[in-house]
């Protein structure tokens, strides 16, 4: 790491660090006034602001760093912020944190202190914290941390004088030491004792970063230690091998424990105001006794009522049943018959699988209103911060199926698009988790449009939606449970910081909904057009009939009309295309309640679409993806057959 300073002055430096949006720049402006410079940090596109201030006649240079969440960097901004900390030899490092999120942000204070940096802690946005009934004892926190702690509300210049006084009187030779669990302390000592060179940060902090596989720090140690680096590397490898746990997670949890102790008695809620409702609601969402009823309410109102009834029912009826069926399609067909003399071209444009009569109608009249309402509901839920709480809620269940709460991310994304979600499985820690998540995505997670169409269709038949939900949930859990026992590999833990729960912001929801609808529309229209052309060519050449004939025995075995095979062929192009085909069959009255439910369950479980299959191949390779393809197809048709037998035998839905 090189020391970079484009304002070489002899003035002592004050470096401002902290999470994004905690008021660092407001403090920077308050300290420095109008004369500041903003320049890209050398070799990067990250901007760093510099200015000067004078306190009690002494001049200081002030640096405002990009937001960072941890001393272990992930983004370029965090790398730059860390490099500034390591290279600028600061007189004082002001760590600015949000008073409302003290527990989330204090672990970074610990990291800065561990690194041997001269830290002053500014607890900002105190006014907002007080408004929601929080009181923070900064004196007690200062005593526990062994460094200056100043309560502030920078937007109102509150605490600025105290910060300036603290900077002038600052003596960073006093420093507290925070102890971790005995085994972790032994590991830190083992690695730290192998470091002999001169470093810009404390050996204890270096050891912790090396144990968390920080490549930049490892490279720095390699250069400084030279031949002795092999000893360091061996010590790190031994600890990682002996512990066999994710040390990053372990260290994060230890820091969390230390912070909890530090904050004991520091934060209080004013009497009469109690714990804010948002915090109580947040606690309810992750408690299994209250969390699952809340989840059911979200699914009932968000998906069933809004997407299923309103989107797939009311809006689709209006667009498809009235606008297209009564006006646009007859008009287009009449135009075609009048102006297009060639049968093949007329078929291509306005025939059974015509570009207008099938592709445009499916995309605009069936899929768009469904994904529109789905994305609206999804964006509201997302904007409240509910998803990370869902991850915590289902963590225990997911562990039974070989996953953990982190797998909620690809599962939730799968409801938008399974192809993209399959790619996101790479964020899961182990190969075992990635394989299980890929199988479950291919099998039991319908994409938004398919889900919407199915909800709309099945809500017309009493009991059908319950049977479908139970079947898909059961398959998800059973296959996951079996996969967890068959697929070998590690079982990692899950830990994440939960952002605050909040009311959804209408502007955010609108922007996210429109953005997702635009993305979806751009994605589906070309593919729908292509599928329509392929189906038209298949019909003309007879290949489609051949394929349908091939699937006929399977359809008959499941008690479905042979024509349903076309729906499954459509479903392979795109899942939602197949669901829309089912919608057409139901509208034509060719399916009874049992057949509709069997077809919906089978189609949901049926093979992933072409794009998802190609993504599976890319992520998991040919052998695994073909294996998953065959497995999923067999499970889908097997379940369809079993369900048909079960429903006929029991008389349910008959």
């Amino acid at each position: 790491m090189s020391s970079v300073n484009d304002h070489p002055t002899g003035d002592p430096k004050i470096v401002l660090v902290g999470n994004p949006n905690v008021g660092k720049s407001v403090l920077f402006n308050a300290l420095t006034g109008a004369y500041t410079t903003v320049s890209n940090y050398p070799g990067t596109s990250v901007e760093v602001s510099r200015g000067n201030c004078e306190i009690r006649g002494k001049r200081y240079q002030v640096l405002d760093t990009p937001g960072m969440y941890s001393l272990l960097p992930i983004t370029e901004e965090e790398r730059v912020a860390r490099e500034i900390l390591f290279t600028e030899n600061a007189h004082a490092v002001i760590h600015v944190i949000d008073a409302r999120n003290l527990e989330r942000m204090l672990p970074m204070t610990l990291q800065l202190v561990e690194a041997g940096l001269p830290v002053i802690l500014v607890v900002n946005i105190m006014d907002e914290a007080e408004r929601i009934g929080m009181t923070i004892d900064c004196s007690l926190l200062q005593e526990k941390l062994g460094l200056p702690v100043i309560g502030a509300a920078m937007a109102r210049k509150r605490g600025l004088k105290e910060i300036r006084d603290a900077l002038a009187d600052f003596d960073h030779r006093r420093r507290a030491l925070f102890g971790y669990a005995v085994d972790l302390e032994q590991d830190i000592l083992k690695v730290a004792s192998t470091l002999h060179g001169t470093y810009p940060l404390d050996r204890r902090s270096l050891a912790l970063l090396l144990l968390q596989k920080d490549e930049e720090v490892a490279e720095m140690v390699r250069q400084i230690e030279g031949e002795r680096f092999a000893e360091v590397e061996t010590a790190v490898k031994e600890v990682i091998f002996e512990r066999r746990v994710d040390l990053h997670l372990r260290i994060s949890l230890e820091r969390k424990r230390v912070c909890k102790g530090l904050l004991d008695g520091v934060i209080a809620q004013l009497e009469g105001q109690g714990v804010p409702f948002s915090e109580r609601l947040s606690a309810w969402t992750v408690n299994p006794w209250t969390g699952f009823p809340i989840l059911l309410l979200v699914l009932y109102f968000g998906l069933y009522q809004f997407v299923g009834h309103f989107g797939a029912g009311t809006v689709v009826d209006l667009l498809e049943g009235k606008l297209f069926e009564k006006y646009l399609n007859p008009w287009a067909i009449a135009l075609g018959q009048h102006y297009v003399p060639w049968v093949w071209l007329r078929e291509l444009l306005v025939g059974e699988y015509g570009i207008f009569t099938l592709a445009v109608r499916y995309a605009v009249a069936i899929i768009l209103p469904i994904v529109g309402t789905f994305f609206f509901a999804f964006s509201i839920i997302e904007d409240t911060g509910y998803f990370p709480r869902l991850a915590m809620l289902v963590d225990r269940i997911f562990k039974k199926i070989g996953l953990n709460g982190r797998a909620v991310i690809p599962m939730v994304l799968g409801f938008g698009c399974d192809t993209m979600a399959t790619m996101v499985t790479r964020t899961l820690e182990t190969v075992r988790e990635r394989i299980i998540a890929t199988v479950l995505l291919a099998l039991a997670i319908p994409c938004s449009a398919q889900l919407g169409v199915i909800l709309g269709l099945l809500s017309e038949v009493p009991g059908a939606l319950t049977v479908w939900s139970l079947c898909v949930a059961l398959i998800f859990l059973v296959i996951g449970f079996l996969a967890a026992r068959i697929v070998p590999g590690e079982r990692p833990m899950f830990y994440m910081e939960i952002p605050p729960l909040r009311l959804p912001q209408p502007r955010n929801v609108l922007i996210k909904t429109l953005t997702r609808m635009q993305w979806y529309f751009f994605e589906i229209v070309p593919l729908f057009l292509l599928a329509s052309v392929l189906l038209w060519a298949g019909k003309l050449s007879g290949a489609l009939n051949g394929l349908i004939e091939l699937l006929r025995p399977a359809m008959l075995a499941m008690g479905l009309p042979p024509d349903t095979a076309a729906v499954f062929v459509l479903g392979f192009f795109r899942r939602d295309f197949g669901a829309a085909g089912l919608y057409d069959m139901q509208s034509a009255g060719t399916l009874n309640g049992v057949q509709l439910t069997v077809a919906a369950v089978t189609l949901t479980l049926f093979v992933p679409c072409v794009a998802q299959f190609l993504m599976m191949k890319k992520e998991r390779g040919w052998a695994a993806s073909l294996g998953i393809f065959v497995f999923v197809t067999s499970v889908a048709f097997g379940c369809g057959w079993l369900l048909n037998q079960g429903l006929l035998w029991s008389g349910v839905l008959s």
């Binding site: 999470n19 994004p20 949006n21 905690v22 008021g23 660092k24 720049s25 407001v26 405002d64 937001g67 969440y69 992930i74 983004t75 946005i125 937007a155 997302e382 904007d383 911060g385 998803f387 990370p388 982190r406 991310i409 939730v412 994304l413 938008g416 698009c417 192809t419 993209m420 399959t422 790619m423 996101v424 790479r426 964020t427 994440m496 910081e497 952002p499 605050p500 502007r507 955010n508 609108l510 922007i511 996210k512 429109l514 953005t515 997702r516 635009q518 993305w519 751009f522 994605e523 070309p526 593919l527 794009a611 998802q612 190609l614 993504m615």
Partner: protein, 63 residues
């Protein structure tokens, strides 16, 4: 912009080295959060001016 899952501040454009799933014709319109991997939609240009409007409080708290 803020990640829709973990709530952390992330770039509003996909990183140059971000891998794409390739499912969307015309290129990827997702920013994969570097912290949690969640796929966030990229706000199109015509909606940008709405997303740039912020409340006074946001400005005060902003870096």
């Amino acid at each position: 912009m803020k990640c829709g899952f973990c709530g952390r501040e992330i770039p509003d454009r996909p990183a140059e080295d971000q891998e794409r799933c390739g499912a969307c014709p015309g290129g990827c319109r997702k920013v994969h959060c570097p912290y949690c991997g969640y796929a966030n939609p990229v706000v199109p240009e015509f909606l940008k001016r709405f997303s740039r409007r912020k409340t006074d409080r946001d400005h005060e708290d902003e870096e």
